[in-house]
Symmetry: C2
Subunit: 246 residues, 2 copies
DNA sequence: CCCCATCTGTGCGCATATCGAACAAAATTA
DNA sequence: TAATTTTGTTCGATATGCGCACAGATGGGG
């Protein structure tokens, strides 16, 4: 069903940098014929997913329904949000839950205590998996061959001077993460930011998601993170063990 | 481009109550032929938007990208999030920004201080416009004829005993909201919850979004809301006046 | 246990919607 | 103003999706 696939690719070309696009811009962005793109956009407009002023197209909030439909797919956010709120309150720092989607982690729930990252994180936000604490924990649960292939087919930009960018080094770190059951990130994703993550596993032992705490580097040394926060994270981890699907 | 429209309708059939659906279930839910639904779902699976275990389909986090693409459409979240954080911190209560989509409001940014509603609100969450403070403010900015048509073509369920459900009464309230520049909701959307909202208007005077504060009813009388929080909300309102598009 | 009733998933021919080259209109440059 | 590039739209050949009809699964009742 080509038309559907095309239309979805069209929707994904709209980004923060390109919120208003002409037919030709979209055509260039997704490498489809202008006529094809035109049909897609006109359909989207007719169905209420886009606005058209005769020159430029814009997505409407209706598109958010699609994302919501997906979030609704997983009971995860509803289950973990209360625990996340309690956890954040108890430790006085921000915590989040995310899942793996390819080479990215996707935030599905979050309890923000203080703004700690320069960008606003919210459900649906994405960050690269290879350099985040939750990403490390989620990757560590996958077969090594799969992760190696992933790391070698994905650009691994150094987001800070501390970011690990060598696939071998990352794989070694993943092995340690797997062995110890948690991951610590020390300013690899953003300077001034440290975080600690544990996997959330189902009763059957499958890693479903990851839970983390993030805080300003000024608040604590990297070496002290596990000692301070691991018990609280593991308590949530244990309570969720029976509740998670799969 | 029929296939695209069909596919989007298929995605929207997935809800919290029906996260895993067979072909026939989806077919029944959106009134399309089973064969058509099947093609849609197989395409979605092939493109990575759905998973298929041979019997049931599930949406994948990839679908969230679509919603994110839409949020990216509006600079609004990025602009307001920092102000929202500061506002929440200053007044010690939760605040949110939402926009109007048909008869619903859609949250685009939120700073939660305390859990105040029984359901978790997050960007993308939807609530009916007619009984929420932000909805009232957004509806009050639309032409009365349009709002009347909307109210008469939409079910107006009483979410609590206090919910206004008579279109005439709501229109009268909207007129008052428009005149005074803010809306107060006293347990109309959920028992134990009160809120205060102001419109966010662009430099050209167009109402783009709404900003609100929500708190437990036990914390303050309805009559005292405006006196306590209006100055803070209006300060944000004023600072955003020049920054909003449109 | 078997049969019938019902529901679900899937191949196939026909009709229709989609593709993309070719055309027209507009914007840009000289 | 005319040449040139870029963008939007049209239209016929053709591939694509539509939905009927069939097969397989399911499950209740005799």
């Amino acid at each position: 069903m080509g038309g559907l696939a095309k239309g979805l690719r069209v929707i994904e070309t709209f980004t923060a940098e390109r919120p208003r696009q002409s037919i030709s811009e979209v055509s260039a962005a997704c490498g489809m014929d202008r006529a094809t793109v035109r049909r897609c956009l006109l359909t989207l407009a007719q169905e209420g997913y886009a606005d058209y002023d005769g020159k430029f197209f814009t997505l409407t909030p209706r598109v958010l329904r699609l994302g919501t439909a997906c979030l609704a797919t997983m009971p995860l956010p509803q289950i973990v949000q209360p625990m996340l709120d309690a956890l954040s309150e108890a430790i006085g720092e921000s915590s989040s839950v995310s899942i793996l989607d390819g080479d990215e982690i996707v935030y599905v729930a979050r309890a923000a205590q203080r703004r700690v990252m320069s960008i606003a994180l919210m459900p649906g936000s994405r960050l690269p998996a290879f350099c985040t604490s939750m990403g490390r924990v989620l990757l560590a649960a996958r077969p090594e061959a799969e992760v190696r292939a992933l790391l070698e087919s994905t650009p691994l930009p150094a987001r800070t001077p501390k970011t690990l960018t060598d696939p071998g080094a990352i794989l070694a770190e993943l092995a340690r993460v797997k062995a110890q059951g948690y991951a610590v990130i020390d300013e690899e994703v953003e300077l001034g930011l440290r975080s600690l993550a544990v996997p959330l596993v189902s009763a059957r032992g499958r890693t479903i998601a990851a839970l983390n705490v993030g805080l300003a580097a000024s608040r604590m040394e990297a070496g002290a993170l596990a000692g301070h926060f691991l018990p609280a994270l593991q308590e949530v981890q244990a309570r969720l063990k029976g509740l998670l699907p799969g």
